[in-house]
Amino acid sequence: MRVDPLLTERLVKSLLWCLTGLTIFVLIFIITFIAIKGLPQLSLSFLWHDIEDMGRAGGIFPTLVSTLYLTLIALVVASPLGVGSAIYLTEYTLEGWVTRLIRFGAECLAGVPSIILGLFGFVLFVIKLNFGWSMLSGGLSLAIMILPTIIRTSEEALKAVPKEYQDVCFSLGLSKWQTITRVVLPCALPGIMTGIVLSIGRSIGETAVVLFTAGASLRTPTSLFDSGRSMAVHFYILAREGLSMPNAYGTAAILIISILLINITAYTLMQRFLRKYQ
């Protein structure tokens, strides 16, 4: 029996639209649910107070400081490495086995699960280098995690800068490095920033890496070698041990809101950058 193609068309289309609706519903639901449950818990004192009674009471101030600390270290380490790699890949080499090796490395690194990075950071930074559970160990491990993202986005941004600019610069007697620093990098900056901003979002949300490298101390870290729990780790501990549901929802809301804002910033930056060159 031959099925009428128009009937199939209508059936398939309605099925697919249903699937789409379901997908989008699930994803939107997650955000709305956390927002509805978490936003009422938020207050200035929640943000400004120390953690009390293992998280059953008090605020989340130390976790904000830890998160900021870790993210900052990761960015300071990974940005020069990532942007430098991207400059080398786009400006200094031709496609060949070296670039393929570097790109393959970056792609594989992007795929390494966070728990493996946690294991690695634990054995290298915490134990072998004797940094202990600390901001430094955590920040360095996060740096490795975000490195591939920064390389990839920077590479794309650099590639989007018109090649003619370089011709013009060379014809004006600029050296390669002058060309890159004075013209190519400034033009690619918004695109590069997109990668960096996205990496901030990932660092904030990461748990497995941080848990085994920065520890879970309740105190506010003051030096590179202090342990401290990031917001995500704090949320994980609250939720897993069922210490305080209101505080868990509040922390989750802050986590999600900050990450969404950061990702929206990244997206807008990228759109503006692309509009400029296309």
Partner: protein, 253 residues
């Protein structure tokens, strides 16, 4: 007789296995416009890019022969190409203003060379270069606007002014009017004629009439070889080679 500025001897250029220029001999005289004409892919642009060593940027090329600028071999392996490019400026087919203000486009290269130390000197250099490129009157009130807002013809004159601001000795122009309307084209040609007393100019164009209008000497390239070279009116009136005759009378190309 004007002095020879650039002397090219037995220049052969390969991209991989493809030969783009073969056994080229040519003298370029100071204070003249040399017109370089020929159909597409005849080696004109490649030749320009050899003169300021922009050809170094292309992978897989082989250059043989000699090119001497003021009796100095510029194809020598350790030659300082950055300063060479400051002596030999280039204007491209497509106008490419850098995404900065008009003023910054012009001040860009001189500032990096740290030539005029004082701000007023720099402003004067910008003004003189814009005047020489006949753009000053149109932009003097908006020097700090983005250069990208200029029209195509203005952008190309800006590129010319930017090259002039480096105070080069030779200016290479690669089909500078190919994307422009007749009025803009006429202004550029006018400018070139006015500039030739101070500079040596090499003008590449596949518009034979433009070559006939502007240049003092003309070289005709065809399939990687120099077919004919001579004083412009003579080449256009009584070409020695049949190919030249066919090309300028429009039988091919």
């Amino acid at each position: 007789m004007l002095p020879v500025k650039i002397q090219v001897r037995e220049l052969t250029f390969h991209y991989g296995s493809h030969c783009a220029i073969q056994g080229l001999n040519l003298d370029i005289y100071q204070g003249e416009i040399l017109g370089l004409m020929g159909p597409a892919k005849s080696g004109k642009t490649t030749f320009l890019r050899v003169l300021n060593r922009m050809c170094d940027l292309i992978p897989n090329v082989r250059i043989q022969g000699s090119v001497r600028l003021d009796d100095e071999e510029i194809l020598a392996p350790h030659y300082d190409v950055d300063s060479l490019r400051r002596r030999i400026g280039m204007v491209f087919a497509k106008p490419v203003p850098l995404p900065r203000s008009i003023y910054e486009n012009l001040a860009f290269a001189p500032r990096l060379q740290k030539k005029p130390q004082h701000r007023d000197d720099l402003a004067e250099l910008v003004e003189n270069s814009l005047k020489a490129a006949q753009l000053w009157d149109e932009v003097k009130d908006r020097l700090h606007d983005s250069a990208l807002k200029l029209s195509g013809g203005q952008q190309q004159r800006l590129c010319l002014a930017r090259t002039l601001a480096m105070a080069p000795e030779v200016i290479l122009l690669d089909e500078p009017t190919s994307g422009l309307d007749p009025i803009s084209t006429a202004r550029i040609e006018e400018t070139l004629t006015a500039l030739k007393k101070d500079f040596t100019i090499v003008l590449v164009s596949n518009n034979t009439k433009q070559i006939a209008r502007c240049s003092d000497k003309v070289a005709f390239l065809l399939m990687s070889r120099l077919v004919e070279y001579g004083v412009t009116p003579e080449v256009f009136m009584v070409p020695k080679q049949k190919e030249t005759d066919d090309y300028i009378s429009g039988r091919f190309g």
